[in-house]
């Protein structure tokens, strides 16, 4: 390895370290990150925090753990990926930063596939059995999670729809009698998942499309730009509404369709970057020295053009979450999944009855999440955009 390439790697690290340092120096971004980390913890450990299934129970002198038995593959995948990610990030410090990130993503994917393939949880769930069992003395003792209600536990043995917050249900119950706090903790999964999956889908498509446009330019660029303009002038919420209404209310479909409609912004940005970069000497030199196209595109141009996309994707996460919230609010969200906005929709009943706790708590959660991503985006932009740095303060 020649000295100059070592030098570039060193500078690149310094650049990303500087960006991270500057983002962390802003109070707003720090608060935003705290909220996101809190959401991640809630999402990963949701079944440990709130669950009707006891961790451990004793029936006729025998120990059993319904908690383990009823873990779904998503629970297992999230827990394993989180553990794997923590180990990789803190255990393998010798590996370069972005390679570690890539490794983390790969390990998470592997964990998800493995657990989807190996874990099967019972389909029929009767939540009342534990309460009934404890009452009748069939279950000698049981150890419950801090919040002993699952998000889909509608307390059929003792239904209590639309209870205001109290000692039993800290944040009240929804119109089906499920615990609001439990649904909110589990709802952070959808919020996080929508943001991540939708944004990465659009980011991937945008990089592909914008990169091709910006690199080839000429008539390919004109043709692809025309298509992009057509796509951009479709009111995307209408398109998403139509797709969801016609193809079924499935959370994965919603994630995907939000991602599939969000790419034009990224493509435009990357195209503009690439058109600028193409004229630069180092790209022309790379081309002249006969490097393969993939090397020019991915090793020389992409790292230089990707920084502004990070800013865009932070705002993109916020808008993806907002779209999902809007869909759920309009009654087109995922069926039977705990979603914050769907709870918000229950605040005003059909007869004009008001359930104020249904309006405040989920609303605050959505607002904090959107605000967190926006603040991080703003801080990232200030750290990355060189034009802003030149301005005297």
């Amino acid at each position: 390895m020649s000295e100059s390439s070592i030098d570039t790697i060193h500078k690149e690290q310094a650049y990303s370290a500087r960006v991270v340092r500057e983002v962390l120096s802003s109070l707003g971004a720090r608060l935003g990150l705290v909220w996101i980390v809190l959401m991640i913890i809630c999402a990963v450990f949701a079944p440990l925090i709130s669950n009707t299934h006891p961790y451990l129970m004793i029936v006729a002198g025998e120990f059993s753990s319904p908690f383990l038995k009823y873990l779904t593959w998503i629970d297992v995948a999230l827990l394993c990926s989180f553990l794997g990610a923590i180990i990789i990030w803190f255990g393998l410090k010798s590996i370069e930063g972005w390679k570690r990130l890539l490794l983390m993503v790969l390990v998470s994917l592997l964990m998800s596939i493995l657990s989807a393939w190996s874990v099967s949880s019972p389909r029929a769930v009767i939540y009342d059995q534990y309460r009934m069992g404890l009452e009748s003395g069939k279950i000698q003792s049981a150890y419950f999670a801090p919040i002993p209600y699952s998000p889909t536990d509608r307390s059929r043995d003792n239904p209590a729809p639309l209870q205001p917050p109290g000692a039993k249900h800290l944040l009240g119950t929804d119109e089906d009698g499920a615990d609001v706090l439990s649904r909110m903790i589990h709802g952070s999964r959808i919020a996080l998942g929508i943001g991540l999956v939708a944004t990465f889908t659009s980011l991937f498509l945008g990089i592909l499309y914008g990169g091709v446009m910006g690199f080839y330019s000429g008539w390919i660029d004109i043709l692809m730009m025309r298509f992009l303009e057509i796509f951009e002038s479709i009111p995307s919420l209408f398109l998403i509404l139509t797709v969801v209404a016609f193809f079924g209310r499935n959370i994965y479909l919603i994630m995907l369709i939000i991602g599939l409609t969000g790419w034009p912004g990224y493509a435009r940005f990357l195209r503009a970057e690439f058109l600028k970069l193409r004229q630069q000497d180092f790209v022309q030199a790379a081309e002249a020295s006969g490097l393969p196209l993939s090397s020019i595109l991915f090793r020389h141009m992409l790292p230089n053009g990707i920084a502004p996309l990070l800013v865009l994707s932070s705002f993109g996460m916020a808008s993806a979450i907002l779209v999902e919230a809007t869909l759920s609010f309009l009654g087109l969200g995922a069926i039977d999944q705990p979603s914050w906005a769907a709870m918000l929709n229950q605040a005003v009943g059909p007869g004009g009855s008001i359930a104020i706790w249904m309006a405040t708590f989920p609303g605050i959660a959505i607002f904090f999440t959107l605000f967190a991503y926006t603040l991080i985006g703003e801080a990232l932009r200030d750290a990355i955009d060189p034009r802003l740095q030149q301005q005297p303060n």
């Binding site: 479709i234 009111p235 209408f238 398109l239 309009l330 008001i354 609303g363 959505i366 605000f371």
Partner: protein
């Protein structure tokens, strides 16, 4: 200039065809298709009646034809230039009145449905644009003038928070706290007019029976909350834009010249800098109008206003193909025309811009 406008208008046609084709394919390729929801309504029919109904629906909407033919048929119906049935079996090619078809679910003509809903949505949007601009420009100019002060930082943070506030939450909170009978009950919860307001006089009157607010004031009273919901999230973006523009211009050469000639700081700001700073705000109207049209989907649903947004949600839920397609077409036309108008405005406002 004329050349440019004509080129843009011509380019609108492939764009519109592309958009409607995409929406059409999504609906056609969905499991169950479009006709399924129509047939489920006849659940308790005898088989022959059912067959007759299927045949009737197929004949009426052409659902048994191959998909490309269905789309071309729809395209022919809505375009002002195309084939038209004159007599039985005889067709004429030429200009005709566009026909948006019949709504599957409501059994009324789509033109009628849209002509009821569109004015309401347009009223909401056209009222909110000046509202947004007035507030954003004032905020932007003042935060630029007192740059770095508490006012500037406070306005910036507040606007960022407003931008992140989801409309669905704000609307719900408005209804819960300001409109419901349990709390303040200051504003109406739904609709655009009070019951019986169409018998009132247009302007407010006060007689011996007491004050009557009249039709106009009543409508405004109903519009206040929806307007706020539709507007506040745009403040952040626009006021930041105004702030940057004013700041840039305040540091420019001509502002320095004006100061050197002895103009007061207020005169420099309002007479010299202000008008130049409006340019970027004009261009950005393009981004705002489509956003508002989409935003009215949520606002209209929260406040039960029967505009385009509610019509979209209702028709999408019952798979009403003709209505969804027509609304997509109309909203797209509005979007494209607003882009065009903004580009023209830009050229008029700034002599440096030319499209030749």
């Amino acid at each position: 200039m004329i050349n440019y406008i004509v080129r843009r208008l011509v380019l609108m046609f492939p764009t519109l065809i592309g958009i409607t084709l995409m929406v059409f394919s999504i609906m056609a390729l969905a499991p169950g298709g479009v006709g399924a929801s129509l047939l489920t309504r006849g659940g308790d029919l005898r088989p022959e009646e059912r067959a007759a109904m299927e045949a009737y629906i197929n004949e009426r909407y052409g659902l048994d034809k191959p998909l490309p033919q269905q789309y071309l048929r729809w395209l022919n119906n809505v375009s002002p230039l195309g084939f038209e049935k004159v007599d039985e079996g005889e067709e004429r090619f030429g200009f005709k009145v566009p026909d948006l078809g019949m709504s599957f679910a409501k059994n009324r003509s789509v033109t009628e449905l849209i002509s009821e809903a569109l004015p309401i949505t347009l009223l909401l949007n056209l009222l909110s644009v000046p509202f947004i601009y007035t507030f954003s420009i004032i905020m932007g100019v003042y935060s630029a003038r007192y740059r770095g002060s508490l006012l500037d930082v406070g306005l910036g943070t507040t606007n960022l928070a407003l931008y992140s506030l989801p409309v669905i939450w704000v609307g719900t909170l408005f209804i819960v706290f300001l409109s419901s009978e349990e709390y303040l009950n200051w504003f109406p919860t739904s609709g655009l007019h009070s019951l019986g307001s169409n018998t009132w006089t247009f302007l407010p009157t006060s007689s011996e029976t007491g004050f009557q607010r009249g039709y106009l004031l009543d409508t405004f009273w109903h519009l206040i909350l929806p307007l706020i919901c539709l507007s506040y999230s745009s403040f952040a973006f626009l006021s930041k834009l105004a702030r940057t523009a004013v700041l840039e211009n305040l540091q420019s050469d001509y502002a320095r010249t004006a100061r050197a000639k002895g103009a007061s700081e207020a005169s420099v700001l309002w007479n010299h800098v202000f008008r130049n700073s409006l340019l970027p705000l004009i261009t950005i109207t393009a981004g705002i109008i489509p956003g508002l049209l989409v935003g009215s989907v949520v606002v209209e649903s929260i406040f039960s206003i029967d505009g385009m947004g509610r019509l979209v949600v209702d028709s999408v839920m019952v798979r009403d193909r003709e209505v969804v397609l027509s609304i997509t077409l109309i909203i797209s036309i509005l979007t494209l025309i607003s882009y065009l108008i903004v580009d023209i405005c830009y050229a008029i406002a700034d002599p440096r811009v030319s499209y030749e």
